[in-house]
């Protein structure tokens, strides 16, 4: 089970125990106790904890520079605008793209809705002429997703298909949890206009084989939309190298504040897409009859944006850059191996998608035979372990695995091997607590 993990990049060494300890010192919440035990936070995939620099950056903005951005001429307005645009530069550099290719949204969910809605708007003939018409969808066109998607990268496409008459198709997963790439090769065709896929599954932790799927979409002339929520915090993310048109993630998954999402879009694409939300701050000229819109990214950022959150995200990015994403990936590779190896020793516990041949991040969703995930999670919480229980906003994938819910353990750059060992030990105590002996069915 341990050889399915990605090889650690040879140039990056995992963090030493001392370095991880130093990182942990920067996360104030990690020193608290839960139910009389030190907090073991293994719910980073739901939201990451925040380092002191993020907490301070957000707070400092309110204490020192708070003002609305992109309007007003007073000193504070200028400072706030500068900080906000600096945050955009930081995000752009992090992804290796241009600043005007970065749109701030409320979260990844809004970013995905933005793209789907803008395509729908183009489909009814609104938008910037021929450039927008290029994206018009209609009957006969197909949108392709995968069976692994988070609801946020599924439902907007269901709705876009319903609004335009296009057909939504999906790449199925095998019993072992990996994507059926043979099926993908026939599902992605010249009818495919959009391929919307996750980079890393939030349920199995598997890294999507983009090297196989993206060329299929390119050959079909389809737009490629990447949900990078579960990759951005764990792997170096380079949308251009991945050859995707759109990539989105949420700041709160990347150690930043909630309320902030990032949409990367290829410049030519963003310039052609019609807006999603309309109002102030996104226009050039407005009459009582109509309006003209600013270029991207302002055209996609109406209203007063989430300024402190963007500044907080920039602080989070500088923090992970200081550690280096390559080293974070190498560290979490070791953690992921240890987690899977540990879980494989616990009887009557199944790791969802464990047989998938894809590399994984340090995340595992498990089913404890005879114990509902909610009950299993309660046993972990009793000893201070925070894990996610439920369907993790991926009901179709859980249905595919024949379960309604699972218990997910997910690591971050502050997670230690000792914490994972504690979690495995606690998982091993779940069935005995409910009076189930080895192999016994409830």
């Amino acid at each position: 089970m341990t050889d399915v993990l990605p090889a650690a990049p040879s140039t990056a060494a995992p963090l030493s125990a001392g370095e991880i300890d130093a990182v942990r010192q920067r996360f104030p919440i990690l020193s608290r106790e839960v139910n009389g035990h030190p907090l073991t936070y293994l719910d980073t995939a739901a939201t990451a904890q925040k380092p002191d620099v993020v907490i301070e950056a957000e707070s400092a903005f309110y204490r020192e520079s708070n003002a609305a951005v992109h309007r007003g001429a007073h000193t504070l307005a200028g400072e706030a605008t500068e900080l906000y645009e600096d945050a955009r530069l930081t995000v752009a550099a992090f992804l290796g793209v241009d600043e005007h290719e970065i749109v701030f949204t409320s979260h990844a969910t809004e970013a995905l809705n933005l793209v789907a809605y803008a395509l729908g708007t183009a489909s009814i003939g609104r938008g910037a002429g021929a450039a927008a018409a290029e994206f018009a969808l209609g009957p006969g066109d197909e949108i392709v997703v995968t069976e692994l998607e988070h609801h946020a990268n599924l439902i907007p496409w269901q709705e876009l298909a319903a609004r335009t008459g296009a057909t939504l198709r999906f790449i199925p997963v095998h019993d072992h949890g990996g994507l059926d790439l043979d099926a993908a090769a026939s599902i992605i065709s010249e009818r495919t206009r959009v391929l919307a896929i996750t980079h890393v599954s939030n349920v199995t932790g598997a890294v999507t084989p983009l090297d196989v799927l993206v060329p299929l979409a390119r050959a079909a002339g389809a737009l490629v939309v990447l949900d990078a929520c579960q990759s951005a915090p764990h792997l170096p993310l380079r949308p251009r190298e991945l050859d995707v048109d759109i990539a989105v993630f949420s700041g709160h998954n990347l150690y930043g504040p909630p309320g902030n999402g990032v949409l990367y879009g290829r410049a030519a694409l963003l310039d052609a897409l019609p807006p999603f939300l309309y109002g102030g701050s996104m226009i050039t000229t407005v009459t009582m009859e109509k309006a003209e819109y600013l270029p991207s990214p302002q055209r996609f950022e109406p209203g007063t944006p989430r300024i402190a959150q963007a500044i907080g995200l920039a602080a989070a990015i500088r923090f992970v850059q200081e550690v280096r994403m390559e080293r974070i990936a190498a560290t979490e590779h070791v953690l992921g191996e240890r987690l899977l190896a540990g879980l494989s020793t616990v009887p009557d516990v199944r790791v969802l998608g464990a047989g998938s041949p894809e590399p994984r991040v340090a995340l595992a969703s498990i089913v404890v035979d005879g114990v509902h995930a909610h009950d299993a999670g309660q046993v972990l919480d009793e000893v201070g372990i925070a894990a996610r229980v439920g369907h993790h906003c991926a009901q179709p994938l859980h249905r595919r695995f024949g379960v309604t819910a699972s218990l997910r353990l997910s690591a971050g750059l502050y997670t230690t091997e000792a914490e994972l060992d504690r979690a495995v030990e606690a998982v091993a105590s779940i069935r005995p607590f409910f009076g189930l002996s080895e192999g016994e069915q409830s």
Partner: protein, 152 residues
């Protein structure tokens, strides 16, 4: 007794493993309740006496965590025991019981369920300290309340 042991008292574990009152019939008027967070589901029907004025039993089917399933089983048992004792509930009495149950469960451990009134279901008192689990325990009771309201 640890918090976890208070939550999962033996009586709750027994009811979740061997639930009472399971089995709906074709044509039953049912209420289907879901907890979308964790996927708990209960479909529940009320059984009425010949006059249609008193609840004599509760039948249900469902899936989910031990708290949600045990709570449905305990509610069914309570209705049966009450009827066996010659004290089947009027809709008003049942509604009042559900309100009392909800109040105790939402009390964060400050109001225990009265054992005289709730019998074995009083073991669900421990749930009230676990805010995230109150909804699980309420599911069957909300289904019963829904059916009573439809009748009112």
């Amino acid at each position: 007794m640890s918090g976890l042991e208070q939550l999962y008292q033996q009586i709750i574990l027994d009811h979740s493993k061997h639930p009472h009152g399971v089995g709906l019939e074709a044509g039953d008027e049912t209420s289907h309740q879901r907890n979308p967070v964790c996927g708990d589901e209960i479909t529940l029907a009320l059984r009425w006496d010949a006059t249609g004025e008193r609840v004599t039993g509760i039948a249900w089917e469902g899936s989910g965590c031990s708290i949600s399933q045990a709570s449905a089983s305990l509610l069914s048992t309570l209705a049966k025991e009450s009827t066996d004792d010659g004290w089947s509930w009027t809709p008003d009495e049942f509604t009042a019981l559900i309100h009392e149950f909800r109040e105790a469960l939402r009390s964060r451990g400050t109001i225990p369920l009265d054992e005289e009134t709730f019998g074995d279901a009083a073991a669900l008192s421990g749930v009230s300290k676990f805010v995230a689990r109150v909804k699980c325990a309420m599911l069957a009771w909300v289904a019963a309340e829904d059916l009573l309201q439809r009748r009112a």
